[in-house]
C-alpha cells in the first residue's frame, strides 16, 4: 500500500549521497541520527559494498527502526485519515509491542465510552525512555510539551527542560471513529461480549483484514477521499450495526441505541 518510501529526517543528504556514490567509491554515507543509522545499515545490507559510517552516538538499537518508520508513516499526509497532533502509531504500540488495547483505553469494559488515554498514561512509559527518543522524534517532544516540559535546541540537540505543571495541556486528537449524536453506543456491552475491537475499528470481513494494530495512521470511512483507497475499514452505518446484531441475536430494538 502506501508509505513504502520513507523520507528520513534530513534524508536529502543521505539520498543524494547515495545517488552520487552508488557503488561506494566515494566518501562513506554518514548517519546523522539513530533512525538514519538504521536505514543506512539496511542499505548496506541490501547493497554490499556501500560504505557507511555511523558515529558512536547514533549506533544504538533504540529507538528501533520500526519506531522510526511508524513515526514517519503516522504523519504521512498522503495516507488516508486525518493528521493528528502527534504522529502516534497504533501499529507500533498495539502491533509490535502488543500492548493490549485496554491498557490505554481503560474503562472500555465498564463504561459506554472507550476513553482516550490521558497524557499521564502516555508519560507512564515515555517518561522512562531514554532521551534518544526525544532527540529522534518530534512526536515525543510534542507529547512532553503537553506534559509541561519544554525544550531548548542546543546546536541540534534537544535539551529537555524541567516540567512546569502549569504548562501542561491536553492533546487535541482528531476524532476518527465518530458515531452520530443520535446513537447511544455502549463499549462495555460489546467488550464484555468478547468482540474484537477490530470488528468495528478495523475490518475483519474482507480478504485482507485491516486491523488497528497494523495501522500507523487511523482512518475510517466516510473519510473524505475514501474511494481512492478502497474500503479498508468499516463505515459506521446502521445497516452494518444491525447485520452484526442480527447474526449474534443481539437486540434489534430501536430504543437500544436511539433515545
Amino acid at each position: 500500500m502506501v508509505g513504502a518510501s520513507i523520507a528520513l529526517p534530513e534524508a536529502g543528504s543521505a539520498e543524494s549521497a547515495e545517488a552520487e556514490h552508488p557503488n561506494g567509491d566515494g566518501p562513506a554515507l554518514v548517519a546523522g541520527s539513530i533512525c538514519e543509522a538504521h536505514e543506512l545499515r539496511a542499505l548496506a545490507a541490501e547493497r554490499p559494498g556501500t560504505r557507511i559510517e555511523i558515529p558512536p552516538q547514533y549506533n544504538k538499537p533504540y529507538p528501533s527502526r520500526s519506531a522510526c518508520r511508524s513515526h514517519e508513516l503516522a504523519w504521512d499526509d498522503s495516507a488516508p485519515g486525518p493528521r493528528q497532533p502527534i504522529p502516534f502509531s497504533h501499529k507500533h504500540h498495539a502491533g509490535e509491542y502488543e500492548i493490549p488495547c485496554q491498557y490505554c483505553h481503560s474503562g472500555t469494559d465498564r463504561s459506554q465510552a472507550a476513553g482516550v488515554p490521558s497524557v499521564e498514561t502516555c508519560m507512564g512509559c515515555h517518561g522512562q525512555l531514554a532521551l534518544d527518543y526525544d532527540q529522534e522524534f518530534e512526536g515525543i517532544r510534542i507529547l512532553k510539551e503537553h506534559w509541561g516540559h519544554s525544550y531548548v535546541n542546543d546546536n541540534g540537540t534537544w535539551k529537555l527542560q524541567p516540567r512546569d505543571e502549569s504548562k501542561a495541556k491536553p492533546i487535541q486528537w482528531v476524532q476518527v471513529h465518530r458515531l452520530p449524536e443520535h446513537v447511544q453506543f455502549r463499549h462495555n456491552r460489546h467488550v464484555k461480549r468478547g468482540l474484537d475491537c477490530n470488528q468495528c475499528h478495523g475490518n475483519l470481513r474482507q480478504e485482507a483484514p485491516v486491523k488497528v494494530e497494523d495501522l500507523d495512521k487511523l482512518y475510517l470511512v466516510p473519510d473524505t477521499l475514501w474511494w481512492k483507497y478502497g474500503l479498508p475499514t468499516q463505515k459506521l452505518e446502521m445497516g452494518w450495526c444491525i447485520k452484526c446484531h442480527r447474526e449474534n441475536e443481539a437486540s434489534q430494538d430501536c430504543l437500544t441505541c436511539h433515545y
Binding site: G115, S118, P170, I171, V174, Q175, E181, C254, L255
Partner: protein
Amino acid sequence: MSELDRRDFLKLVGASAGAAAAVGCSDPVEKLIPYVVQPEEITPGIPVIYASTCRECPAGCGLHVRTREGRPVKLEGNPEHPVNQGTLCARGQSGIGRTYHPDRFAGPMRRGPGGELEPLAWDEALSLLAEKIQANPSGTYVLGGDVGPTAGSVVDRFVTATGAGGRVVYDPFAPEALRESTRALFGQARVPRFDLSDADLVVDFGSDFLDVGPAPTEHARQLAQARDVHNENGGVRLVHVGPRLSMTASNADEWIPAKPGSEGLVALAAAHVALRERGGDASALRSLGHVTPADAAARAGVDAATIERLGRALAAAKRPVALPPGVAGWSRRAVASAAAVLLLNHALGAVGRDVHLEREPAGRARASHREALRLVEAMNSGAVSVLIVHDADPLYSLPAASGFGKALEKVDFVVSTASMVDETAARADLILPDHTPLESWGDAEPRVGVRSLLQPTIRPLFDTRALADTLLDTGRAMGLGGQLPSGSFRTLLEQAWSGSDFRNALARGGEFRPQASGSAPVPSASAMLQVAEPMLEGEGDFALVAYPHSLLYDGRGANLPWLQEIPDPVTKVAWQSWVEVSQATADKMGLKAGDVLAVETSAGRVEVPVLPRGGIRDDVVAIAIGQGHSRGHYASLAGDGQPGETRGVSVLALLPSVTDESGGRAFLTARARVTKTGGFQRLPLLQSTDNKRKRMLGEALPLAVVKGEGHGDGHAGGHHGADLGPVYANEHAPIEAYDATADSHEDSPYRWGMSIDLDKCTGCSACVAACYLENNIPVVGEEGSVRARQMSWIRIERFVGEGYIEYVDAPERGRRPQPSNEVLGKTDVRNSPMLCQQCGAAPCEPVCPPIATYHNPEGLNGMIYNRCIGTRYCSNNCPYKVRRFNYFDYSQFNWPGLFNLMLNPDVTVRGQGVMEKCTFCVQRINAARQGAKDEGRPIGDGEVVTACQQACPSHAIGFGNLKDSGSAVSKLGDDKRGYHALHSLNTRSAITYLAKVTRDVES
C-alpha cells in the same frame, strides 16, 4: 474534512451520485480531548456523584450533584439528608442553571466613568475596595442573606476587624413574626418546626406550606405519609384557611375562605371552641383577646358554624397540628396571628409532640427587616459610604416604598458579589463575583442536628472568588490580617468541622444527628398581643394579597429558564404576571382573561393582565411575587431582545413599607383600587380550562368508597375486576378489562409501567423540572408558550371537580380560556401528571409513515428521533396530547452561554422538525440494564428510577416492571383506586393512576 474542495466534490458527484450523498454531509472535525491527568474517580462515560447542599431557599435540602466528566449535569436529592430524603423541588433542581448562566460575570468589574462595566484584576479590585473602606470604616455596611455558619462567621469577623458599621442579614421571607410570637408566648425566640408525618388533622392557617413553606419537600413528604389511605381513619384531613385557592389550599380537604389576615381570629375562635369541647385552661388564649366564633366569623367573612365545626374537629382529632400564616398573610398583626395559632397548637397538646420548639443553630444568621430599614435610613442620611451586598437582591425584593432605590444613590460605593446580574448588581460600582453554589465550599445548618456541607463539583468556570475569601483578602489588603483568621475559606471550613469526620461528612453531604424532641413550654399569659384585622393602608374595594410564586420564590428564580417555563401550579400561567380577581368581580367589571387592569395602592400602580377565577374571595385581588425584573436574560425581556424591559410586574412596587408588631416585614398591607385600562395581553396560559368534562382524567373517589363502605352511583367499573363494583361514575362507555403485561413481547421479561397516586400529588411540578433537566428539553419562551408550543414531556393537569360535558355558558363557547370551575370554599382540585402513557395499543403508532414511533419489546412506546420526518400525525392522533414538536432548532438557540455544558450526554438533543416525548427515561432503563446484564440477572424492582419519580417530594410516582408480580408498581396496580386515563379509548395505557381520595373533615 477540509481536504475536499469544491472542484473535487463536483467531480465526485459526477462519478457517483450515490456516494456523493455520504460526502455531501461530511461531518465537521470533532476533537477528542482527554485529560492531562485523569482523576482517579472519573471514568469517561460514568457519572460521578457529589453530595452538596441546595442554596435556593433556607430549607437546606441535601443534593446529589450528578457530574459527567467534571461537569454537573443534574441535581438530585440526597437520600441520606433528613430534610428532603432524596427528593428535590423544582426550584432546587433548576439551581444548576446558575453555574452555566449566560448572565454570569466573567470576573471582577468596575463601573467606568461612562457608566459601563469594565473588567479589572482581582488585586486591583480588592485594593480599590480596601481603600474605600479605609476612607470611612464606620460607614461600611454588609447587607446580604444567610451564607451558612462558617461563611457567616467570616463576614462577622470582617465587620469587626474593619470596624465597619455593621452587618445586616436580609431575607425577604424570614419568619420573624413566628419567632417573635414564640418569644412573646414562651419567653424564647425560636422558629418552631412542624412535623406533619403522624398528624390526623392539619389546619393550615395560610402558611401555604406546600408552595413556599419552611421546607416544601419535607412537608410534602410528611403530608403524603400522613395522608396514606391505609392509615387509621383513611389518612390526615387538611383544612386550609385563607383568601385564595393556593396550591396548598388546592390540596386541602376543606377550604375556609377567610378574609386575608383574619387567620389569627379564626384560629383563636377555633381554639376557644376546641378548649370548650376538650376542657382545659383558656386563660392563655384570653390574653390575645376573647373572640367568639360568631365574632370571628363576622370579622373573617365566614360562617360561625364553620368555625364551630373546625373547633370541634380539632378537639376530636388525636394529633392535630395547626400551621401559622405564611408570607401572604403577614400583616401588621402577624405576630398576634402566629401567636394565636401557636396557642391553638398548645391547647391541642401539639407543642412538643408535632410542633417542636427546638433551639436554633448557633451559626444561623437571623434576618431582621427592622435592621434593613434602619440601614436604608442610614443610607438616606448619607452615613453609608460603602455598601457590600451579597446573596440577596434587595433593590428588587425590598418594597419599593422603603426607598432603598433612592437611598442607594446616596451611597458612594456600592459593591455586589452577585455571580450573575440582578437589579442590585446593575447599580453596583464594583462587582466582585462570587462562585455559584455548585462551585463553592460552604456549609448550612437549617436546624439543630442537621449540618450540611457544600462542596465544589466543578472548577469555577469564570474568574470568580468565594465571598468569604473576597472579604478575607480585602481585610488583609487593609493590613488587618492579624485580626482575621488565617488561611483560605476552605481551610476555615475544615477547621469549623474539625470536631467531625470531614471526609465522611463530604461523602454523606453533612453530619446528621437524630433530633431530640423539644419540650413543651408553658405559655405565659402576659403577652401583650391583640389578634385583630390586618389594618390595610389606602383606599379601594379590594385587599391586595401579594403571595410568593411557588417557583420564583422571592424573585430569585426568575432568571432560571425552567422556573419561568414551568407554569404556576395553580393558574398555569408561565413567563408572566397576572392579577387574580374573583369571577364575580370580573363579571361585574366585564373582564375576561387577559384584559389589562390597573391596580393602584397608596404606594404605587401597575398594569397587569387579569385572570378571573372562582377560587378567590370577591374582596381580594392577588398578584404573585417574583416577576417584574428589569435585568436578566430570562427574568427580564433581555432574552427576548428587549434589554431593560421588565417581564411582568413586581407586586412589591404596590406595597407600602409596613412592619408587623415586632418590626418584621409585612406583605398584607394594602388596599387596592382596580380599574380597567382597555388593554389586552394574551397570557401564556398552559391550560385553558379546568373542566375535565367528566372524562376519566384526574379521578377522585370518596373515602367511603375506597374503604369499601359504599359505592359511587355510576355505571362503569374500575378496570381491575368487576368485584369492586362500579366505583367510577363518569365513563362514557363500558370498559374492557385488559392485562397490561400482555403488551410487551412474550419473550421479554419486562413491561415497564408506572403508577401515579393523585392522592399524593400536590401539583408542585418538581417532576416537570426533573424531566426538563434530565431529558435536555428546550424552553420555548413567552411567545412560544402563548402559541402553545411548550416542549415539556410531563405536565400537571389541574381539574376542578368532575366538570360538565356541554358548554353551559353558551356565550363563552369557543373563547379560551374558559371560566374556571372553582367555587369559593370548595376544593375538589385534582392534580394529574400527564405524560406519555406508553399505550399497549398506541394511537400514535399506526399513523406514523416512517415508523419512527413503534412499540418496543419491553412495552415502551419508542420514539426514534432520527427516523422522524415531522408529519405530526402521531401528535394529532394522541388522545393525551403528550407529544411535542420542535418547531424551531432549539438545539442551536436554546442553550445560550454555557448552558450546553449541562446537557445530559445520555439523551440525544433533538433537532428541528422532530417529534419528541417521554419514553420512561429509557436512558435510565438502559443504564440499569448494564449492571443486570453484567451479573446475568433481570433488572430488579427499584433499580430503574425515572427522573420524575426521583424528584417527587411526596413519592406519588412509582415505576417498575408490570410483569414482575412482586414489583411495587404491580402491587399498586391492583389498588382499588386504580384507573387508566381516558380508559374508554382502550389505549391499554401502562400508567395506572390512583384516584384522589376525597375526605370529609369530621367534627
